[in-house]
């Protein structure tokens, strides 16, 4: 043991979780949250997906390198790595598909304000814009173009608003990450409770959202 090792041991960043592991954890969290939340959640902004793509590429290269090796031990390691890789890819795929499904369902809603648009990644924004244009075009060529001009809009607000939005009052399960006071609106009466860490509660998303955003709770 030399001086570098001793220094490394007292360096707090040395024992921190390695970036790759942290990324996988973040991805898993984002995936669970996205699948549970009734509305689209913001796209992770800190370059998480650039890193994830990098990790996947690196593993694929590794697999290709190891394939040439005939040693049975490498072969076993190869299977472990490939299985892990498939799972990692599944997480990303499932996450992206969950988002696309939400975007497709309420495209006009997510494109309607800058605030909502900022939740989409650049690629998703391009996809949503183009998809909406295709749909509109399809409606136009199928029937809408023979309508009177004042009826050709897709966002009539008179009477009932035509643009559908996700149901923010849908129920979600959250796990509390610290002791916190929880308020929930009910059908007949509102409920409040002193939540303890790791309690699991069912709440309307609109009530749970502030807790999740503040990091006091996570979706399960």
């Amino acid at each position: 043991m030399d001086i570098d090792d001793i220094l490394r041991e007292v360096d707090p960043t040395f024992h921190a979780i390695p970036q790759e592991k942290q990324d996988l954890q973040d991805l898993t969290r984002a995936w669970i949250a996205e699948r549970s939340a009734p509305e689209l959640l913001p796209w992770p902004a800190d370059g998480l997906f650039e890193r994830i793509n990098g990790n996947i590429k690196a593993q694929i290269e590794k697999v290709e390198e190891m394939t040439g090796d005939m040693d049975p031990r490498t072969n076993f390691a190869l299977i472990v790595i490939q299985t892990e890789l498939e799972r990692y890819k599944y997480l990303v795929r499932s996450y992206l598909r969950a988002r696309i499904a939400k975007i497709d369902r309420h495209t006009l809603h997510y494109l309607s304000t800058d605030n909502l648009r900022s939740r989409l990644s650049e690629m998703e924004l391009a996809y949503a814009t183009r998809h909406q244009a295709l749909l509109h075009n399809h409606y136009l060529s199928s029937f809408l173009s023979s309508f009177p001009p004042q009826l050709q809009n897709l966002n009539d607000a008179a009477g009932i608003n035509m643009v559908e939005a996700p149901d923010l009052d849908a129920a979600v399960f959250i796990r509390l990450l610290k002791d916190i006071f929880v308020e929930g609106r009910g059908v007949d009466s509102d409920v409040t409770m002193d939540g303890r860490e790791s309690d699991i509660v069912i709440l309307r998303w609109s009530d749970a959202k502030p807790l999740v955003e503040a990091g006091s709770a996570e979706l399960v």
Binding site: I60, K89, R93, H138, Y139, S142, F143
Partner: protein, 216 residues
């Protein structure tokens, strides 16, 4: 005389039925045209009713006309919603096929050529394709859009299985001759009724397209 909205209601029912079908039933071109015509007729009637007032119509003074206008107005919007719902239900279905890698245009042509052949949607025995020409265009364009989006995630295969992967290798049975495929363990010749132990990632597309069946 049919009531306003009867036709629109029919469309909505068609849409509802479509949701539970595997294949798309034939496009109701005639019905769509009729509903659109009804909207145009209603719009003309509204214009005619309003004409004598020269833009200074007071609903309180002439309640009967006001009521007619309101009904006309609501019927038009209702028809529009029915048309939108009908088309959206169908495009949703078409998009689902595109995601699953089903060649919709090919499928539609097959159904058209073989009205008794298995397809639920071909039950009406129509000779023409079950898609409207506009829908065929839409499928093509959406396919391009999806390909473009997928192309940005080349390593992920976005249209791959949404089942969490359990095993790297799976047993498959060949349902239809699919020719030879290349895997990292060499070439496999997929002839009907043969069985293989292969890497799931290599054959996912073929399973989705119905060439292979996953066993176990």
């Amino acid at each position: 005389m049919p009531m306003y909205g009867d036709l629109g209601n029919k469309l909505a029912l068609h849409a509802k039925r479509t949701q539970n079908l595997v294949h798309l039933p034939p496009y109701q071109a005639e019905l769509v045209r009729a509903v659109t015509r009804e909207v145009r007729d209603l719009d003309k009637e509204v214009a005619k009713l309003l004409e004598p007032f020269q833009g200074s119509f007071d609903p309180a003074a002439d309640q009967a006309t006001a009521c007619t206008l309101l009904v006309d107005h609501l019927s038009m919007r209702r028809n529009k919603r029915c048309l939108l719902a009908y088309h959206r239900t169908r495009t949703d279905k078409l998009e689902e096929h595109v995601w699953n890698g089903v060649d919709v245009l090919d499928l539609a042509a097959q159904q058209a050529g073989n009205p008794n052949g298995g397809g639920v949607g071909a039950g009406d025995g129509g000779v023409a394709s079950s898609l409207s020409p506009q829908e065929e265009d839409y499928v093509r364009q959406y396919g391009d859009l999806l390909a473009a989006y997928k192309g940005q995630w080349t390593d992920i295969d976005l249209t791959g299985s949404l089942e969490p992967p359990r095993d790297l290798f799976i047993d498959v049975r060949v349902l239809k001759d699919a020719g030879e495929i290349q895997t990292e363990y060499g070439a496999i010749n997929l002839t009907k009724n043969s069985q293989f132990y292969v890497r799931q990632g290599d054959v996912e597309r073929l399973i989705a397209q119905g060439y292979l069946q996953k066993l176990g």
